[in-house]
Symmetry: C2
């Protein structure tokens, strides 16, 4: 089975500061194995590119452009939020994928994404058997939410964690300076709809003399208990910082961000959790506050990426190609932690069947008993993932990020309409 | 007049990523002139420390701790928002200042702040004449808003500009990746209540292929024109980024952030301008959006500080001491630009009387004709201020920022109650 085949690579779901480092790992490793892998075609906007036969010929990019992907945030080929239904529910799309793969002689399918994408990749991997088309589907993990199972961590998370920890520390120093006559409470909202891994990183500021309250999606929000905690910290330290996960919610499942606020026209006001929490504190305790919502700034912050994260993102892309060359199908390379201090890990392999549609939440013993902070065990887990700074190059004060040419491959098939 | 005197240094108003670099410049230069300057006392929480005789003996800090100030954001001695009234309106406070200065043999007053603080410093400088107390008052400029007159730029601004430009670029790459099936408009809110200098920095992303709309406080908000611009850019590029200054307002002076939104309890909902703008676009054009409010994250972001900014902050602190030693009073060291490319500047001097209570806005020719972008002239102005990266040291994945001992000086006077 050493017949030369082309490869398909696509980015899926929310992009990260390091997903392009995985792309770099995939493409450079494929290029190093020209005897086995022909072209690497990228899907323009993820799986949609495969369905609509909108393929990008990565062979048109120079070696230096591909190398520059390693230090460029976002998804260089475009990503998408599009989940394939089951084979039974949407046979048409699977048949189309096969048609496109056959037309372009694609034998390797590399899908770079999170939980939903692992599910898509798993379904595609089953094409091989159920539809009699020879294809090896390998999932390359990616998610700032760090919620994929089996792997110790997910590329994208270490860099967001570093951004959130650094930003929380810096802003807390700011509030501490101002607390005497001005702001006493600073609230920062971070991503994580279901899992509190990102919020947990903000808790690291507590090791630097900062009184921090973390609000996790895993812990039901108790307003009275929360306000008491803030009150205590402000009385004790003169100020405090609150890191609130966007997924923080009341016992009935209502998100903090959904407070039924209306604008002057009666329209529902889409606010974040941070202003809600800040106003809650103002009304109950009277403290002057400031709040921030980091949103995309956090997951795109390549300028403060974790060197560990960048390295692992690359290695997982590299390993995906190696697994394909070794004949594997329906698998995902993983990070297996060997030790915390010194940090040691190896790249392992997981069956995709066990990855798809499983979410990994913060273990309860990573969260302090009162539910507002992180334990030493959590800190030991987080620390190595944020190690090292992998700075991009700068020109004229701004980072040098690459925008690829993204040359389209000539279409061979008829048009295909989504849905 | 070479009699040895002690010095007083205080930080005032909103802190920045580099105000401590100015403190470092003041203290290290004073230490290098031990024959002329005795102790350097810092006011705990700015001028309040002087009024309440709450002085910090910076002599208790090691040389390495003082050196570490150069790479530590926030105000190491605490800042305050407290504006002295005129001598006529509040003679009591001025008399108290003199009492404290005399008790501690203080002959040099270094005040590190923005426009309001320049006013305070100027008033203190007049003590010398009107109350017959020999004192030299030197203002050390500081403000992320970049709105002080005479000086070409203000320490703190270059670093915020760099943060905003980098973050806008990164998040815009993110949106570009997602635009096919998800977010098409990203809105980021930045500081600048009256002047649009910070927002202008976000406009630099346009040099990197990003369609950006900037909303300045200097340009009255025209909703229809704005929506048309966003619509055009999204149609043309598939996505766009909006950088909105917190000070952006309607022709009648109402800030965009004041939309009269109410929460479920009927309380006024304090929102930012970003969610307001994002919802406006959603309702008019239907685009999926994301928004961020950087708030303190931007002004505390020492991790991405501009090397030019850090250097100038230090030099202005150094120059303040040199001016004092040269017998000057009621002055402020400034940055005088000599050329854009290559960037050359020298440290000059301005009379405080000309600085106090004057705000410098964006010149109209720095803003494009349509009011939504920055001109080449503006870019030439901004570029050098963001040059170079002055990274802090890291330990365990987090920056090493110093927290001083801040040892109190023994009080010699009775208690003084503010107001």
């Amino acid at each position: 089975m050493t017949q030369k085949k082309n490869a398909f690579y696509a980015q899926s779901g929310g992009v990260t500061a390091v997903i392009n480092a995985s792309a770099c790992g995939v493409i450079e490793t494929a290029r190093a194995n020209k005897d086995r892998i022909g072209k690497v075609y990228a899907g323009r906007n993820g799986i949609i590119g495969a369905l609509t036969e909108d393929l990008i010929d990565t062979g048109k990019e120079s070696a230096s452009a591909i190398a520059a992907l390693r230090s460029t945030p976002s998804g260089a080929f475009g990503s998408c939020r599009y989940k394939l239904k089951s084979l039974e529910a949407n046979r048409r799309e699977y048949e189309r994928l096969i048609e496109v793969f056959e037309a372009h002689d694609i034998g390797y399918f590399f899908y770079n994404g999170g939980g939903d994408s692992a599910d898509t990749c798993f379904k595609v991997s089953q094409l091989s058997e159920s539809m009699g088309y020879p294809l090896q589907a390998i999932h390359v993990p990616k998610t700032i939410d760090n919620d994929l199972p089996i792997t110790d961590c997910c590329p994208g998370f270490g860099s967001v964690a570093k951004y959130v920890a650094v930003s929380t520390l810096e802003a807390s120093f700011d509030v501490r300076s101002m607390a005497k006559t001005s702001t006493k409470v600073f609230v920062v909202e971070v991503m994580g709809r279901h899992a509190g891994w990102i919020a947990a990183a903000g808790g690291l500021a507590s090791d630097h003399g900062i009184p921090v309250v973390v609000l996790f999606p895993e812990i039901e929000f108790d307003e009275a208990k929360f306000l008491k905690r803030v009150d205590t910290l402000v009385k004790e330290h003169g100020f405090c910082t609150v890191v609130v996960s966007e997924g923080c919610h009341y016992p009935d499942g209502t998100f903090l961000a959904e407070q039924g606020a209306r604008d002057a026209f009666g329209h529902a006001q889409l606010g974040g959790a941070a202003p809600v929490v800040a106003n809650m504190i103002k009304q109950a305790l009277g403290h002057k506050f400031h709040w921030a919502v980091a949103d995309y700034l956090q997951r795109a912050a390549r300028h403060i990426a974790s060197a560990t994260d960048v390295k692992q993102a690359y290695q997982l892309g590299q390993k995906a190609v190696e697994l394909a060359l070794a004949g594997r199908n329906a698998v995902m390379p993983t990070v297996e932690r060997i030790s915390d201090v010194p940090y040691k890990y190896r790249i392992g392999v997981a069956d995709l069947a066990k990855v798809a549609n499983v979410e990994k939440f913060m273990p309860r013993d990573f969260i302090t008993k009162d539910g507002f902070g992180i334990t030493d065990k959590c800190k030991r887990y987080l620390a190595p993932l944020m190690q090292g700074e992998d700075y991009p190059k700068y020109r004229n004060g701004l980072p040098v990020y690459v925008t690829l040419k993204n040359v389209a491959v000539a279409k061979k098939l008829g048009r295909f309409d989504l849905k």
